[in-house]
């Protein structure tokens, strides 16, 4: 036990006040190092709160609130903040989540249909490309919408939609990167199953949410600042 005590009480190197803030992936890695335990707990919370299925959108809002604090480098009382956002945004997140779910399902179905048609007639490739782009854009809008809803719950749904579209157009690549990262996480889980059985239990949900919040952060900042200027 002595080594454990010593490891807990050993003096650290200290944190200079004017330490330059990390950016990009280095910042993401720093957040991961700092918050790994909170992410693990958040993942469990996401699983538990998502069990009734209908609560998935509100759970996503709660998770995004926690990840927002992580990105802002603010203190986190996990359950207090999570359940607070969950309760506060339950109806709005559920209704909007349902709407986005339906739209994304339609867009996804469109991709599926056109992908089937392409081997029969090549011109459908154009339609398929359009469907893929539309689908991805909708995913990006949805991601930005949820973050903006968590960050600025006072704004109307219509305003949030407009700002989400603006944010998605402003910085599409980071959002696409985050979506790809999430897809890769789940792909890894599938490819390495059953060795990867721990991944969804331990971090897939929370890490995916963090990646999404991290990637859409600056675009949401931009959108919110534009909204403030116009107001």
């Amino acid at each position: 036990m002595k080594w454990l005590t010593e490891s807990f009480t050993r003096e650290g190197p200290g944190i200079p006040k004017d330490e330059p803030k990390k950016t990009g992936l280095a910042l993401f890695a720093q957040i991961l190092r700092r918050e790994w335990w909170e992410l693990f707990k958040l993942n469990l919370a996401i699983i538990v709160f998502s069990l009734p299925l209908i609560t998935i959108p509100a759970t996503l809002a709660g998770a995004m609130r926690i990840c927002q604090l992580m990105v802002e480098d603010e203190n986190i009382y996990l359950m207090r903040e999570f359940t607070g956002a969950f309760r506060r945004l339950f109806w709005r997140a559920s209704l909007c989540g349902l709407a986005f779910g339906a739209v994304l399902a339609i867009a996804g179905y469109g991709v599926f249909v056109y992908a089937q048609l392409v081997p029969q007639a090549l011109p459908y490739a154009l339609a398929l490309a359009l469907a893929v782009v539309t689908s991805l854009f909708l995913w990006m809008v949805a991601a930005h919408f949820f973050l903006l809803m968590v960050r600025a719950p006072a704004l109307s749904t219509a305003t949030l939609l407009r700002l989400s579209a603006l944010a998605a157009l402003y910085r599409p690549l980071p959002a696409l990167g985050a979506l790809a990262f999430i897809a890769a996480l789940w792909l890894a889980h599938i490819l390495f199953y059953p060795a990867s059985v721990f991944m969804p239990v331990a971090f897939n949900f929370s890490l995916g949410t963090l990646a999404l919040v991290f990637a859409t952060w600056r675009a949401s900042e931009f959108a919110l600042s534009r909204e403030q200027q116009s107001a």
Binding site: F8, T9, R10, G12, G14, I15, N75
Partner: protein, 369 residues
């Protein structure tokens, strides 16, 4: 109102009594420092005030209330420990907010207090960090912050700077003094470092063996120590102690030391030496009262020249400490950095005896106090 009274306070561990009948009045908003060697009972006294040690006998009053049986948490005090005692699994923010959290303070109030305190202590950038990443000085600030957010009437600090390096200790000393002025609260501070005590305290309590020896302002303790222990403990390098034989010389007194007649100009206190005529007493001489040349503003009749051999010269930058041997006595002189004396050199030093410290050889008490 956070005046504190200790009335005949005792603490025993079985048959061993470690604090004996302590009487002490601590004023509201005072910065009081308990100082003494290890095992003198200063930390035990502090812990009794904190409520962490049961009082064996005596009374402890905080304000108008006797708090012997009041639990620690209800005494409106906050304690800062030597080892910081931060929760390692909590962030700085949570460490600081924990006390308020336990009191079920509203979260907006907690948040405001934590952020305000962090701003005062300049640790805002650490709020979301764990103690493991922090340096000793940063941890100490957090420990102070945790005490501050509770807004207590009394701060108890148990050797809070002992784990810091010398440079940081100097910085933190100044910070704590500033903090005391800013918070306007009563501070009771335990240390064995007399430099900390001298630089920070409104009053110092010198303890030994569970007894209070002297309570006074830092300057008074330095100028008028009550006994040889206090005289030796306060001041660095410590006071030189010479055994001299008291002899009359005209209207005044001199002390015979190594064939020299050291003048003892006592002014109106001259009568106090009458019982000591012909006896050996201890003359205390501060290292800064030994000079390589006649000091300006000192009456020549209150000086004597000591021939000495330099055993070791310690350059300190702003001054040189000469470890000398004079009349078979080892002494230390604090001289200017221009002094060229080297180990083994013979030197003549002027002893300024304008304000001599004289102690009874048997009782070790000051004759002139």
């Amino acid at each position: 109102m956070a005046a504190i009274s200790l009335k005949k306070l005792n603490k025993s561990f079985g048959p061993l009594t470690v604090v004996h009948d302590i009487d002490l009045e601590i004023g509201d908003k005072e910065f009081l420092i308990l100082v003494g060697p290890s095992g003198c009972g200063k930390s035990t006294t502090l812990r009794m005030i904190a409520g962490l040690e049961e009082i064996t006998s005596g009374e402890l009053w905080i304000g108008d209330e006797m708090v012997n049986d009041v639990p620690s948490k209800d005494r409106d005090i906050a304690m800062v420990f030597q080892n910081y005692a931060l929760y390692p699994h909590m962030t700085v923010y949570k460490n600081m907010a924990f006390g308020l959290h336990l009191r079920r303070a509203p979260k907006e109030e907690t948040d405001a207090k934590v952020r305000e305190t962090a701003k005062i202590l300049d640790i805002e950038h650490l709020l979301n960090r764990k103690p493991k990443a922090l340096s000793g000085g940063q941890r100490q600030r957090v420990a102070l912050g945790r005490a501050m957010v509770r807004d207590p009437a009394v701060f108890l600090l148990d050797e809070p700077l002992s784990n810091l390096d010398a440079k940081l200790r100097g910085t933190m000393r100044a910070e704590i003094s500033k903090l005391h002025k800013r918070l306007d609260a009563t501070f009771i501070y335990v240390t064995h470092d007399q430099v900390e005590a001298m630089t920070m305290a409104d009053r110092i309590v010198v303890m030994r063996g569970g007894h209070i020896l002297q309570v006074d302002t830092p300057q008074n303790l330095y100028d008028r120590p009550i006994n040889m222990f206090v005289a030796g403990f306060i001041g660095a390098p410590q006071m030189n102690m010479l055994e001299v034989t008291v002899k009359r010389s005209g209207d005044g007194w001199v002390g015979l030391f190594d064939g020299l007649e050291l003048p003892l100009p006592l002014g109106e206190k001259a009568d106090r030496l009458i019982p000591y005529e012909g006896r050996t007493v201890v003359l205390g001489l501060r290292p800064e009262n030994l000079h390589e040349a006649m000091p300006v503003g000192v009456a020549p009749e209150a000086t004597a020249t000591l021939e000495a051999q330099v055993e070791l010269a310690e350059p300190m930058g702003a001054e040189v400490h000469l470890n000398i041997l004079a009349g078979g006595h080892s002494m230390i002189a604090r001289v200017s950095p221009r002094c060229k004396a080297r180990d083994g050199d013979r030197v003549s030093l002027i002893a300024d005896l304008g304000s001599p410290h004289l102690f009874d050889k048997e009782t070790e008490q000051s004759i002139l106090y």
